[in-house]
């Protein structure tokens, strides 16, 4: 889905770490994760739902998150995801890397223009 002018496309590979961050706040089902990401990005992030589910299943296969069926407040059956200890450490390393990377890029980009 093409992003609108106000929305940013996701850099490849960052969806995983964002989902992990979301789940570190607690177990959520797929729609809750989407909503959380949209809310916490101030509306600038619009998640591609099918991509989200792909990512969720992929991470489940890798053992970063665990899934099980649960029941919502409305007594509806939903699939809840939670982060595993492997997922937590992956989140920590990725977060550090991302912050360093963005720091480096911002540092270069915000450097004063060369004064000749």
């Amino acid at each position: 889905m093409a992003p609108t002018a106000d929305q940013l496309a996701l850099v490849k590979g960052t969806l995983d770490v964002l989902v992990l961050k979301a789940l570190s706040w607690g177990s959520m089902h797929g729609f809750e994760i989407t909503t959380w990401l949209e809310d916490n990005s101030g509306g600038t992030l619009e998640v591609d739902d099918s991509a989200l589910y792909h990512a969720l299943h992929r991470m489940e296969e890798r053992g970063l998150i665990a899934a099980d069926w649960g029941v919502t407040e409305n007594n509806r059956r939903a699939r809840y995801y939670s982060v595993t200890s492997a997922g937590r450490s992956h989140l920590r390393t990725e977060t550090t890397r991302w912050l360093r990377y963005s720091q480096m890029v911002s540092g270069i980009l915000t450097a004063a223009a060369r004064t000749t």
């Binding site: 889905m1 607690g26 177990s27 089902h29 797929g30 729609f31 989407t34 909503t35 591609d48 739902d49 099918s50 991509a51 589910y53 792909h54 299943h57 992929r58 489940e60 296969e61 099980d68 069926w69 649960g70 029941v71 919502t72 407040e73 509806r76 059956r77 939903a78 699939r79 809840y80």
Partner: protein, 908 residues
């Protein structure tokens, strides 16, 4: 209101079945609904919200597809992990259980080890004899052995595996459906000269043998047709790989070297690949062309050159490789035709009337398997081996029955534990899987030990059963191991089934209440049934053992009329040294004199024939008696002085041959008692005379000796002994009598005799026992093997009976306590328990006896002088088993009698 997080973790205890596709659909559906609800909350209409939710999601179909497949994959992996986890858990649990009950484990493992080991051993033997085709034979299915049959009065041939060289040539000429026709002969010849001379096994083969086999030499080449032409081929030899290694150290320069075989020198032109021994079972040291080696063999025996021309000298085995896509039937018809043509060619070469027309002879060719023991000339050993396979399968069955019994008993003991586990929620499937893994683990351990048993037992069995066969493959052949593993698994499954049946009907509630102590008639019936089976098998095996032991005893205690254990046979092989017949006679006498100087030697004498091995028989002509009434064959033997003392045959009347009996003096004869009875049943034979030919001299009867046996399946032979000096014999040999056992003196005597013979000649000595004993081999074998297996079965059955009775007693402690409290004596309790045990066994005995009788007809021909329905044997076996039953029941019975009624009544 619980925090939503907590409520999200409601887990279901029941393991849900895999509904992966539905799961994925449900998840996506939920998401779409939630999105739609959110949009509606923001003011959209329901329809628009639904459409927007679908749009927002992306490619729903593809998502469903990909997510389903990845979910299925994950699900399968999880299931696999769970199954493996279960199996691992089961095995660990089973192993723990095994360690905790070492006695039980040992009993089971040992029983199964013996069962599987026995089978693996027998399989190894049968594999070698009946299943494995000759090594290095290309496409064995295309190769056959040729057997020619003809039945005729004067013709004298019966099932012929031994064909003459002329016959082989004729077949080769006339046959159309063969790629190759070859001939083969195995024998022993002396290799080397002087001190180092040794007899080795030799194969004489036609040049076509090599391409027929399709084998490549390890070194050098094989001989060609050009080197295998009459009259005496080319003196080339192909040596065996084993011989090459042991005698030439595997040196590559062996080609072109000379090797002395028999009476000639041969040039080595090649080496066979390892394991190759032609169609022989024993390893072969060298292969020679038929035409070259033939000269060596036949010069000794006096057939001289006739072997090249005569149809009557039968010695070869003909082999054929059929053309591709030619069936055995078509080829056999072709060979039959060729055989008849050959007979037509034969007729003009013989006196008229000696060769009847082919049709009246019912001449035909039969093509049989290249494995000799699968054809019409199956050896005794092969027949016995097949029987033994059946026997060892029976023993395995018994072992399984016993182990099943033990396992069932244990399962019954654990009823309470099992009831608890079922109540807690373990599925029956899991429980059954766990039991199965227990029994399989036991079976595998048993099988592993069984391989060791096979290794050890196999070595012994081979030495006993087939000492001549070449066993280059070790006992731990891969096929044998595979068979053992297979048997172990089958045993595990079989024995695991019994307790499983128990549990599939376990009544949880009642078991919990009674603490697993209730009397279960179901289990009892199964266990009793197994015991009856064991009893029956024991009877069959022990009856077999009894019959064979009696046969063997009869054979051994047979008075042969001479003592083979004290007699050595010494033979002279000229091997090209120039020895004419006069010199030969002188040499033999020198040998005899030399033998007498060896310490430990008591007597030595010349002889022509060898009991059980070489005989000269013909009709006699007796003056005054109508030849028509004397149509019985007599055994003739030209012997020297001291013959009867050497053999240990008693002289009944008159005298033996002496030095006085020479060329020119009155021809004499000594008859055996059976001969006398046949010719002059009611007259005094001394002074009368007999003739060997109608126009020959009349030999005066000067003595009567005891009978000797020369065949096991006939009565005592009718012997006529004449003087070797007075009846020219083509050959002669010496018997040497030793004080101690002849076998121990063989080499000593041989070396002493070797000293007096010239140059290339070779003396061989063999104990006479070694010639006679193989005839007894099959009975000895049957006796040994059946006894071993019978005792094995007996031990297994006894253990089984003991365990059943012991368990019964432990179950009935309460009841027995009541009986004792009510005044029953110890003796009464004993009688009660023992009679129970005996009753179960009795049924098994009856069944077993019936089965044994049913097989009586098949076993009959293999016995000696004892009926297959011999009542004494049957009675003996039944008696022994009853005694064993009583003894096995006695221990638990005694324990039962000592039960303290107070304790019993109070026990839970």
């Amino acid at each position: 209101m619980l925090p939503s997080r907590a409520r999200h973790f409601f887990r279901l205890a029941i393991r849900r079945p895999a509904l992966t596709e539905q799961d994925v659909d449900a998840e996506i559906a939920f998401h779409l609904e939630a999105r739609a609800a959110q949009l509606i909350a923001r003011g959209m209409s329901p329809d628009a919200a639904a459409a927007e939710a679908w749009r927002r999601f992306g490619d729903v179909e593809m998502a469903r597809h990909t997510l389903t497949s990845s979910a299925t994959r994950r699900e399968t992996r999880m299931q696999l992990r769970e199954i493996l986890g279960n199996v691992g858990q089961d095995l660990r649990y089973a192993a723990r259980g095994m360690r905790k009950n070492p006695g039980f484990t040992a009993a089971v493992v040992l029983t199964l080890a013996l069962g599987t080991g026995a089978n693996a051993t027998m399989f190894g033997v049968v594999d070698r004899l009946l299943l494995q085709p000759p090594a290095h034979l290309r496409a064995p299915n295309e190769v056959n052995r040729v057997y020619l049959t003809a039945n005729g009065d004067n013709f004298g041939m019966s099932i012929g595996t031994n064909q003459s060289y002329r016959r082989y040539q004729d077949l080769r000429t006339h046959v159309r459906t063969a790629s190759y026709v070859a001939a083969s002969y195995e024998t022993e010849l002396v290799f080397g000269t002087g001190e180092a001379a040794r007899e080795e096994s030799v194969g004489l083969v036609s040049a076509s043998f090599w391409p027929m086999f399709g084998v490549q030499p390890a070194l050098g080449r094989f001989f060609t047709d050009a080197e295998d032409q009459l009259p005496q081929g080319t003196a080339v030899a192909v040596i065996g790989y084993g011989y090459w290694q042991s005698h030439f150290g595997g040196a590559r320069d062996v080609l072109g070297k000379p090797i002395r075989i028999g009476r000639s020198d041969y040039t080595i032109i090649g080496v066979t690949p390892p394991g190759f021994s032609g169609i022989a079972l024993r390893s072969v040291a060298a292969f020679l062309p038929i035409t070259a080696g033939g000269a060596d063999i036949f010069t000794e025996i006096g057939v001289d050159d006739r072997w090249r021309e005569s149809y009557r000298v039968g010695w070869l085995q003909t082999l054929v490789r059929r053309k591709p896509n030619v069936s055995v039937e078509v080829a056999a018809a072709d060979f039959t035709n060729a055989y008849r043509l050959s007979l037509e060619t034969q007729r003009p070469t013989e006196p008229p009337g000696r060769v009847p027309r082919a049709d009246s002879l019912r001449a035909r060719a039969e093509l049989a398997s290249v494995i000799q023991d699968r054809g019409p000339r199956r050896s005794q050993e092969a027949t016995v081996a097949v029987w033994l396979v059946g026997v060892s399968l029976l023993v395995l069955l018994m072992a399984c029955a016993n182990v099943a019994n033990l396992l069932v008993a244990r399962a019954i003991r654990r009823r309470r534990e099992i009831a608890v586990r079922l109540a807690v929620g373990v599925s029956r499937g899991r429980l059954l899987a766990q039991l199965l893994s227990e029994s399989t683990l036991l079976a595998i351990v048993g099988g592993a030990v069984g391989v060791l048993v096979a290794q050890w037992g196999g070595g012994i069995l081979r030495a006993v059963l087939l000492p001549d066969v070449d066993w280059t493959s070790t006992v731990l052949d891969l096929r044998v191991v595979a068979v053992t593993v297979f048997l172990a698994i089958v045993a595990g499954l079989l024995t695991g089934l019994a307790p499983m049946r128990q549990l599939s009907r376990a009544d949880v509630v009642s078991d919990l209440r009674t603490g697993g102590r209730g009397v279960s008639l179901r289990g009892s019936r199964l266990r009793r049934g197994l015991l009856v089976l064991q009893g029956a098998i024991s009877v069959v095996l022990l009856v077999g053992a009894g019959l064979f032991v009696r046969s063997f005893h009869n054979v051994r205690s047979l008075d042969l009329g001479f003592q083979p254990e004290h007699v050595l046979l010494a033979e002279l092989s000229a091997r090209g040294a120039p020895i004419d017949s006069a010199r030969r006679i002188e040499l033999m006498e020198r040998l005899r004199e030399r033998a007498l100087t060896v310490p430990g030697v008591q007597h030595a004498a010349h002889t022509l024939t060898i009991p059980f091995s070489l005989e000269w028989n013909q009709y006699l002509v007796v003056p005054g008696i109508d030849t028509a009434s004397l149509r019985d064959l007599f055994y003739i033997n030209p012997v020297g002085p001291d013959y009867f003392e050497t053999m240990g045959t008693p002289l009944v009347r008159g005298r033996g041959i002496t030095d006085a009996d020479r060329v020119g003096s009155q021809p004499v004869a000594i008859l055996s008692q059976a001969a006398v009875k046949r010719i002059w049943p009611s007259e005094d034979p001394l002074g009368k005379c007999v003739k060997l030919q109608a126009d020959g001299p009349c030999h005066v009867v000067v003595g009567i000796v005891g009978d000797i046996r020369v065949e096991f399946n006939e009565g005592p032979g009718r012997h006529v002994y004449v003087a070797a000096t007075q009846v020219p014999a083509p050959d002669s040999r010496i018997f040497v009598r030793t004080r101690n056992e002849a076998a121990t003196q063989a080499e000593v005597v041989r070396r002493a005799l070797q000293e007096v013979v010239p140059g290339a000649a070779y003396v061989s000595t063999r104990p006479l026992d070694g010639i006679v004993a193989p005839e007894m081999r099959s009975w000895r074998l049957g006796a040994t093997m059946f006894t071993i297996f019978g005792l094995l079965a007996l031990v297994v059955a006894a253990i089984g009976l003991y365990s059943v009775v012991a368990y019964d007693v432990s179950q009935r402690t309460r009841e027995l306590g009541v009986r004792v409290a009510l005044g029953a004596s110890a003796g009464a309790v004993l009688r009660l328990v023992v009679s129970e045990g005996v009753r179960v066994v009795a049924l098994g005995l009856a069944l077993g006896a019936i089965v044994a009788l049913a097989f009586a007809r098949k076993v009959g021909p293999m016995l000696y002088d004892v009926s297959a329905k011999d009542p004494l044997t049957y009675a003996g076996v039944v008696g022994v088993l009853l005694v064993v039953a009583v003894v096995a029941s006695l221990a638990p019975a005694v324990r039962a009698a000592r039960v303290d009624p107070n304790v019993a009544l109070r026990a839970d």
